[in-house]
Symmetry: D2
Subunit: 346 residues, 4 copies
């Protein structure tokens, strides 16, 4: 154990936090140094998380910044809006500890827009610039050098994956329309009516239509890459009656200079070398990526309309898995360490 990296998880009882516990509990090069929870201080992890019986023996602790002095890095899974205050202190007092922030607080450089979408004041504006946006496959080199990474949102990850290969060549144009269905775990661990099983178990509905807060991280990220070209992004989030998984469908107008062949080339360029994003035939299937750090994508075209589809697990590739992928890079490890687990076929 001596030469493993020490990592803590703050806010380990939320779904991203508990998934991070799960992943790190079998990570070969990382030792889980501490886990914190406001509400369960002093309880054994396995008392509340029987899935970790035999894997995690720790007790939940109360978070305090000093804990950061005990670790090489931490994954911060605190609530949106609250994370920034804690992180501000942490950055000031223990600047040597690397942080992956799973909240939305530092994902967007457009802080006025951020305040509008998150409906709260941003109280750590001067810290935002310290964070690298953690969409691993397109920001890998920066992440390797980063002290602080803002881990992308779950929907944002699916939009990034679908659209970034074109933005990279400045080829996002016109009106891009996307909808994405997510499972109930995307709503977090607080029981509310929209996740109450009798009301969710056979239901589909849309919410935050055209105004989901992940737009505030995706649009600047894509625009920065997309050169001078302009595009509009219309995004409809929807919720379906399953626990884990996002299935996103994008209608992308093709620039008339481009054929499907060049489109495919841009996509293969982007994803063929990747371990965690695979191009599949026919259609992505959500079950093929559930519980894993994999994303599957497909593109189909007709006339000048391109349809792209992406399946991923919102808690892993869209959450704790991508966080560990970034953490690995920040610690100088192979990016895929501890993350290569295939999904069951069923």
């Amino acid at each position: 154990m001596g030469n493993k990296f020490k990592v803590g998880i703050a806010g380990a009882t939320g779904y991203i936090g508990s998934e991070a516990m799960r992943i790190l509990s079998t990570h070969p090069d990382i030792e889980l140094a501490w886990v914190t929870s406001e509400s369960r201080v002093g309880r054994k992890v396995w008392e509340d998380f029987p899935n970790l019986l035999g894997f995690v023996r720790d007790e939940f602790r109360q978070f305090e910044p000093e804990l950061l002095s005990e670790v090489d890095a931490a994954i911060m899974c605190l609530p949106h809006g609250g994370a920034m205050e804690t992180i501000k202190q942490a950055v000031d007092k223990f600047p040597n500890t690397k942080l992956v922030d799973a909240s939305g607080d530092f994902r967007s450089p457009r802080l006025d827009k951020w305040e509008e979408y998150y409906k709260t004041r941003h109280t750590a504006r001067e810290y935002q610039g310290k964070f690298v946006y953690g969409f691993t496959e397109f920001n890998r080199e920066k992440i390797k050098q980063a002290q602080y990474v803002a881990n992308p949102g779950c929907f944002a990850t699916s939009l990034n994956i679908l659209l970034a290969p074109f933005a990279k060549h400045g080829e996002l144009v016109g009106e891009v329309c996307v909808n994405a269905y997510t499972g109930s775990s995307g709503a977090g661990n607080k029981p509310v009516h929209t996740t109450h099983h009798p009301e969710r178990g056979q239901n589909v509905r849309a919410y935050k239509v055209l105004e989901h807060q992940h737009l505030v991280e995706v649009v600047p990220f894509l625009e920065d890459m997309n050169d001078a070209n302009e595009f509009d992004l219309f995004f409809v989030p929807q919720s379906g009656p399953w626990v884990r998984g996002i299935f996103a469908t994008a209608f992308i107008p093709l620039d008339q200079r481009h054929s499907l062949a060049t489109v495919n080339e841009m996509v293969r360029d982007a994803y063929e070398p990747e371990n965690f994003i695979h191009i599949v035939e026919g259609s992505p299937e959500m079950r093929m990526v559930q519980n894993t750090n994999m994303a599957h994508v497909t593109y189909r075209a007709q006339g000048d309309m391109l349809v792209g589809m992406c399946a991923l697990d919102n808690l892993v590739k869209g959450g704790a898995g991508q966080a560990v992928q970034n953490l690995n890079l920040m610690l100088g490890l192979d990016e895929s360490t501890g993350l290569m687990h295939p999904a069951g076929y069923v």
Copy 2:
């Protein structure tokens, strides 16, 4: 509309109450006179229950006993423990209004046991005797004459259906073991962790093992019929990842004087004349009764062990449907009026 019976529903936003609204909204001989809700006074029913768009135009009202003077009968869907206080007043001030109480408050004559299982004091003890226990198929004649009916619990209904045909002949003996799986709607409309979709959507667990409060209504009801014979009832409630439906399995020791033939005779005697309880071949299937007032039963024997199985919808036959069945009888209507809707095959 003039010669329809007028009926009100108190506590219409709970799942039993909203199911009662659904059933009465198309009942040919009953006019829904009012619906009440603590939390939504003044809102149109369809604003919160879009399923009733085009069916119910009323607003939710605040419950007050005087409302009872406007109706022939009311279905009381108030919370266990709270119902008794409201009903006490109602009975005193408006004794001419018939009541079906969907709560557990008046289902058991064993009030000390009741207090133990419901973990609260019974404050309307002298009223309990005014209520007829509403297990329709075995109490029909009393219900026809009743001013007040205590509608059985959802699990209780499944246990009653499985065991009453034997108790009726004094043939329940030995150790009767039952488990029953229920869908999430059985837990009511308040979001909690055990009904939080991410934690329920693929889960099975047991709860209140050997100590569920429905025992306090089932045991006296069966014992009364079962003559001097003694039996023990062990009941394990379990929760499954679906919305509606109970599937109960009973292991019933056969008195050695009885063959499967006499068992089948007792069952056929009990249920062949019935509209809402059907004996099926092979196995009951939950989907065949979901959303309906039907219960399906099967019995199989080996040696001196009888296995009985019952499927029903917890909100209809185990709730609002049985309430309307009882209400029909109390109002002198055909018992099945407004209730003959078959399930979809899928």
Copy 3:
């Protein structure tokens, strides 16, 4: 019973057919005269459909055209491609019997396109013109006069509902992008891998991307209404892990002459008078329409992009319910007879 209309159902064991049995079994003005099935001739309906225990006492019969002489009308639920041969004979020999055809065979006047999408030869081309397209809300007057109605497909119904209000005013323009998620019952009653529960139970996938056969009925229907204006329709069908229900999302470019206000006016014009299509706030929810003939729609706009969403039950409004709605009109009954059943809230 004497003055009820007599109606038969051919192909009653498929999901549309069995849903038609369910609806007609409690229809006040229709007597179910016969039901046919290739595979179950001579069996009681309730032996194979225990959901109809107590509702349908008939045996399945072998279909033969002569059965049509015994009824006022029939709902034909035969397989796509096979229906046309049977119907050709029926039309020739018993022209007085009204027919609602639930298959895809007579829904499209573009028979060459039809052959391309259905991948089979159309062998009753000269009969297609006898059929009125049964999208009730926009073809009501023709349906009242019709002898033969081609009932729309399930996806087609959702697309029609979302787009027809604009086509009616010639306002469909540009590139209209739609995706629609359907439950497994949409795939019919033959077990295959894509509906095998282990492989469907937690899955989402797309299929027939941009080439689903319902386009061949929707496009001509909308184009006919849409005057000289041109639009492209891109449609992605997807399958989700539930049994019943379609949720469709349309991205509709707004003609610049139109504001959201005029859009809303066109929608209200179309649907406010309707019994079975309701405009809802926020988002349609699939559970609010499951098992019913209701469709719920919502529209939201941003800039010059309109997002429309529609929820309906694929077997009822998208199948047997719409068929009975049409049948009612053809028989001179009130369109909603036998169809006014609200969904459960859960």
Copy 4:
């Protein structure tokens, strides 16, 4: 790779086989040498199992006994009844290759009973004695020495876990009643009506009531341990609307000499040292063990009735996981190698 054990999987496209591929694809000490499939010879594994994209690069091969000469061991996932013929040859020609047989063919010494329950003739009777029954926790020492292991059935594993601690002390008496609910993956990968999603997605039913074939392995195994004492085992298998997981409930009459304290002692004795069977408070929860090799158990008593409950994943602890656990022992590896993956909390 050089000093890894080489292992093949015969019948790798069934659910147990594909789960074995999944587990071995990341096993640190085993190299997947070949996988076979009758129907997909020559296809890349990931073409049909996209979940294994990036994990398994092999093609499916045609099984022939000679393949056994290339490996240290094989997991045989051939159909019940068919496995025995293949295995007979394998044992004769390549006796040095260790085999774990996942079929039911060699699990029971009572071959006449076997033929009755499996409804087929046993054509390899003289080979049955060569197989050790692979209920790891109670047969560990024999398995370490075994050349051939018959891996227990999924239901059988749950019954063994619940009842073996008492049988071990000769304390199983009277009438033991068990029911167990399984997910749809237990039915295998061939689509049939009982696993057709529309008919399974919201359904519960029982099947093979009191006559499931796993009794033929469980009863002799328990009786052998249980000394001279006699007990009857009544078992009701049931199917629920989820993909993975068994939840079993046992009603076990307590010998009057025993208190709950001694019961608990027997259970703790049996399972406290184990890595893959954990005693939990309250109730096992199926989601805590899904996709893992864990089983969770709880016992509760009242009077002289003991209720035991067990949750496990039918494809892992009840299938491929237990197979690898046994394989590890047979190869001299630590039993838990490659199997220590916790479930997600949701």
